[in-house]
């Protein structure tokens, strides 16, 4: 060891310390960024002549990050589902206004009972007609809302697919930079942060799992195992359906040629906003639509003449036959004076005349209708509601079904959100920047820098005294 070596060692220590200081300043500036992970300068002494920052390390916890991605996907799926439930709940919301089908049905029953007291009163007849119109309008609106919710979900899926494709393209660029940087030994820690951020955004749209290969190359699969990214981004395709009615089946989202959503998806995704929207579009909203259709069908059935289910009564299906009766159901024009009908037919029967004598106090038909409402009917078990029940019970069960679904989605969403928060917190505790630690390290570096500088000045003094000896 001689003086020149001492000088060059001190010099290398200075440059290592300054590199480390710059890393600390990066850490401090990234302290407030949740996607930033703490960086460290890894130093190594090599042979004669000091120290060197060999590489920039980065704190990471892959297991925790994977948990965070999973929680994120779960939370956003529930959030999307909750949003859909809330749209559907608009059909039953606001108990003051009593806009639900069940309430309208109740008002019709009340109006019929009033009319039964004095069947010949045209004012009461008009009131019954108005409540009947009210009921059909409510059903029509509810069906429209349900289909609107599906169209909205469809649009949200299209947005989600666009975002996924965009994120995968960004991922491709970042991944390439990381692979390249890793191979050539440059500092890729910032790109790794970016890649994790993209994964976090991606997990919001769709549940994912990842594998890291040689050279820091990453492969992304959905939570069901469909390839999303492997060397290059796979195409995620989706054909939007703009208008929905009860008979419409929305198109499936395809990734790498495999359907991710829909009934035929053998590798269907299990979480992410895309999953939430697809569940709403393909399961929840169609089921609600089916319930509305069954209510409408039950109405037409109960008011049929002469026995329930016979010739059309007050409520008619203008056709064509098929799913989506709730959207079509109307009031028979035969009872509406405005359409050339006769209000008296409410009392006497629409198709069949039950009161051939024209008795003004004839109330048998009205009572028969009221009774028919209280007779249990066989509803479609696919509605998910007790199928053997009366129309009014069925209608109120539908409301409960919706509310229960909404409540469950809301609870699940808040649970998932909490879980996500907790996971994020743990991840931040592990990989985040601790300012105290950074400042302590900074002081340590300051001392070390000072010591190295002192070595240089000491060697300088020594050489100075030697030079002074040469005259």
């Amino acid at each position: 060891m001689n003086l020149s070596v001492a000088l060059s060692s001190a010099q290398s220590a200075l440059s290592a310390t300054s590199t480390q200081s710059s890393i600390i300043s990066r850490n401090i500036s990234g302290a407030a960024d949740p996607g930033y992970s703490r960086k460290m300068g890894l130093t190594s002494s090599m042979g004669l002549g000091g120290v060197k920052v060999v590489s920039v390390g980065r704190t990471a916890d892959t297991a925790l990050h994977a948990r965070m991605l999973e929680a994120n996907s779960g939370a956003s799926a529930q959030q999307a589902l909750l949003q859909g439930f809330e749209t559907l709940a608009r059909t039953v919301d606001d108990p003051q206004l009593n806009q639900s089908v069940s309430a309208s049905l109740g008002r019709l029953t009340d109006a019929l009972q009033m009319q039964a007291e004095s069947p010949g009163d045209p004012v009461l007849g008009a009131a019954t007609l108005s409540t009947a119109y009210d009921l059909t309008r409510t059903l029509n609106n509810a069906a429209q809302t349900a289909q609107g919710a599906r169209a909205e979900a469809d649009a949200a899926m299209a947005d989600s697919v666009d975002r996924i494709n965009g994120l995968l393209t960004r991922f491709e660029n970042t991944n390439r930079a990381i692979v390249l940087g890793t191979q050539s030994g440059t500092d890729v820690s910032d790109e790794l942060d970016t890649r994790d951020r993209i994964l976090t955004e991606l997990s919001q749209e769709v549940g994912i799992s990842t594998i890291t290969r040689a050279g820091n190359d990453m492969v992304i699969y959905t939570d069901s195992g469909v390839t999303l990214f492997e060397k290059s981004a796979r195409v995620i395709s989706f054909n939007r359906t703009f208008a929905y009615d009860a008979g419409t089946t929305g198109a499936a989202v395809f990734a790498d040629g495999v359907p991710l959503t829909g009934a035929g998806a053998s590798m269907g995704i299990k979480s992410g906003a895309l999953h939430g929207h697809a569940t709403l579009r393909d399961e929840v909203a169609p089921q609600y639509q089916l319930q509305l259709d069954e209510i409408a069908r039950g109405l037409v059935h109960a008011f049929g003449e002469p026995a329930p289910g016979g010739a059309p009564g007050i409520f008619i299906d203008p056709g064509p036959a098929g799913p989506g009766l709730a959207a079509r159901i109307g009031v028979s024009p035969d009872v509406d004076p405005a359409l050339g009908g006769d209000l008296g037919r409410l009392r006497d029967g629409v198709t069949v005349n039950f009161n051939p004598a024209g008795d003004a106090a004839f109330s048998d038909r009205i009572y028969a209708m009221l009774e028919a409402l209280e007779v249990p009917q066989g509803f479609d078990p696919a509605t998910g509601i007790n199928p053997n029940t009366t129309l009014s019970r069925f209608a109120s069960s539908s409301v409960s079904w919706l509310e229960a679904g909404r409540q469950q989605a809301s609870q699940e969403a808040s649970f998932r959100d909490t879980m996500l928060e907790r996971t994020r917190e743990s991840l931040s505790n592990v990989t985040g920047v601790n300012l105290d630690e950074e400042l302590a390290l900074m002081m340590e570096l300051e001392r070390s820098y000072g010591a190295s500088a002192r070595i240089i000045s000491t060697v300088d003094t020594m050489l100075q005294s030697l030079l002074a000896a040469t005259r």
């Binding site: 001689n2 003086l3 020149s4 070596v5 060059s8 060692s9 010099q11 290398s12 440059s15 090599m46 042979g47 004669l48 002549g49 000091g50 060197k52 390439r176 692979v179 390249l180 890793t182 191979q183 050539s184 030994g185 799992s209 594998i211 290969r213 040689a214 050279g215 190359d217 492969v219 699969y221 069901s224 195992g225 469909v226 390839t227 492997e230 060397k231 290059s232 796979r234 395709s237 395809f254 790498d256 040629g257 495999v258 053998s266 590798m267 020594m462 050489l463 030697l466 030079l467 000896a469 040469t470």
Partner: protein, 419 residues
């Protein structure tokens, strides 16, 4: 004894010290020259025959010693083409005329033609790896060529091998024959699918669809298709049958592949090479389909983005897509007596009779030192040593000049005896 002789002795002493000063000056001038090895002066006495009663003063002879084997300190740099040797050995360089030399000065930079040139203007020599491992002749520099880091053509590597490992859900439904993926019919049923990117001879990306279908208890069919043949929108039926299809048999005792089962796919990549995909890591346990490993070699055409040396002397070209390919291997040369090499301008040494013959080897092999990248070896000159030598030489010169002066004075006395 003669006064003339004494004066000559003084002159020879002065000349010796002048030599020493000269060596010190050279050392000090090269205190920051990369790879410079300091020299020092050794003196030997030159004595004339003397008889009793009469002394014939002789003189002093100067020998210059080179301290080539003394290691210099490493100075780390940010250039990946800066090299240093830690331990024995020299880089082989050649001048523009092709004459080989040895050097420790490793601050190489690419010139306009892509050759790596050090500060002395010498180009780095290495073995090309284009045709496989180099044939090293241990005692000769045959086979070496200037290392060139530019690449004139974009290069693609077709895929030849890959690995795929995943878990197949043991409780999956059994798919009857007739609708298996290998039947390639509309509505072929599969349990799981993954795709892998492979490269053909020209570096086109070929996406391979790999389907897994349970055909019987513990038996799975695996079929690979070219995604380009897929039906519009993806999936079955493909325009052509499977590239390969195998039936994997799993051991019900542990869920791993049975010993008798095929454990790989051999896929003829369209317009490419035969690609062997190792499936031996596949498992079948009661869990969801999960991919554990997936990798296929090969790369798309890509330009060289940079080069990097590894510590064993291999020069890798780093492609824009991140792949690396070894292009040259830089050897180290050593001689029996490095201190007796003939120093030539430009920090290089020529092999001479005194140094012994050259021995070729690779870094960290057979007694050679290791190669350190992104570092250069500083000169092994120590300023303090040189300054003290200088002071010593100065005093020695002064003393010798006094001898000369005294001789001159004596002669003057002698001359003045006669008036």
């Amino acid at each position: 004894m003669s006064i003339y002789g004494t004066m000559r002795t003084g002159v020879s002493g002065m000349a010796a010290q002048a030599n020493r000063i000269g060596v010190v000056a050279d050392n000090m001038a090269n205190v920051n020259t990369t790879g410079y090895k300091r020299s020092s002066t050794q003196f030997s006495s030159f004595i004339l025959n003397s008889q009793a009663g009469s002394y014939n003063s002789g003189g002093v002879e100067t020998h210059v010693r080179q301290h080539v084997t003394q290691q210099g300190a490493m100075q780390y740099t940010t250039s990946t083409t800066d090299l240093a040797v830690n331990g024995n050995g020299f880089f082989v360089v050649s001048d523009a005329g092709g004459t080989p030399f040895l050097t420790r000065a490793g601050s190489f930079v690419p010139d306009g033609e892509g050759k790596l040139i050090n500060a002395g203007g010498f180009q780095l020599m290495g073995y090309p790896l284009a045709d496989g491992d180099p044939n090293v002749v241990v005692n000769s520099m045959a086979g070496l060529e200037p290392v060139n880091i530019t690449q004139n053509a974009l290069e693609a590597t077709p895929s030849t091998e890959g690995v795929f490992g995943a878990n197949l859900p043991s409780n999956a439904n059994i798919v009857p024959a007739g609708t298996l993926p290998s039947d390639n019919v509309v509505g072929s049923v599969f349990e799981a699918k993954s795709s892998l990117v492979a490269y053909d001879n020209l570096g086109n990306e070929v996406v391979l669809d790999v389907y897994f279908t349970k055909t019987a208890a513990n038996e799975w069919e695996v079929s690979a298709f070219d995604q380009a043949d897929a039906a519009p929108g993806g999936g079955f039926p493909y325009g052509a049958g499977p590239l390969d299809s195998q039936t994997l048999i799993f051991d019900p005792a542990n869920g791993r592949l049975d010993g008798a089962s095929p454990n790989g796919l051999t896929i003829a990549v369209p317009d490419g090479q035969a690609l062997a995909i190792d499936l031996s890591a596949m498992t079948q346990v009661a869990a969801d389909y999960t991919v554990m490993r997936a990798d296929v070699n090969g790369n798309a055409p890509s330009a060289v983005r940079g080069v990097e040396f590894s510590s064993d002397g291999t020069l890798y070209a780093v492609f824009e897509n991140g792949d690396r390919r070894a292009t040259h291997r830089v050897p180290l040369a050593d001689v029996r007596s490095p201190d007796n090499l003939i120093a030539t301008a430009g920090n290089v040494y020529a092999v001479g009779i005194d140094s012994g013959d050259v021995t070729m080897g690779f870094p960290a092999e057979g007694g050679m030192g290791t190669m350190v990248t992104s570092a250069v070896e500083q000169s092994n000159v120590d300023l303090a040593d040189e300054l003290t030598n200088m002071i010593e030489a100065q005093r020695g010169y002064q003393a010798n000049s006094k001898v000369f002066q005294t001789g001159s004075d004596l002669l003057e006395v002698l001359v003045n005896l006669k008036r």
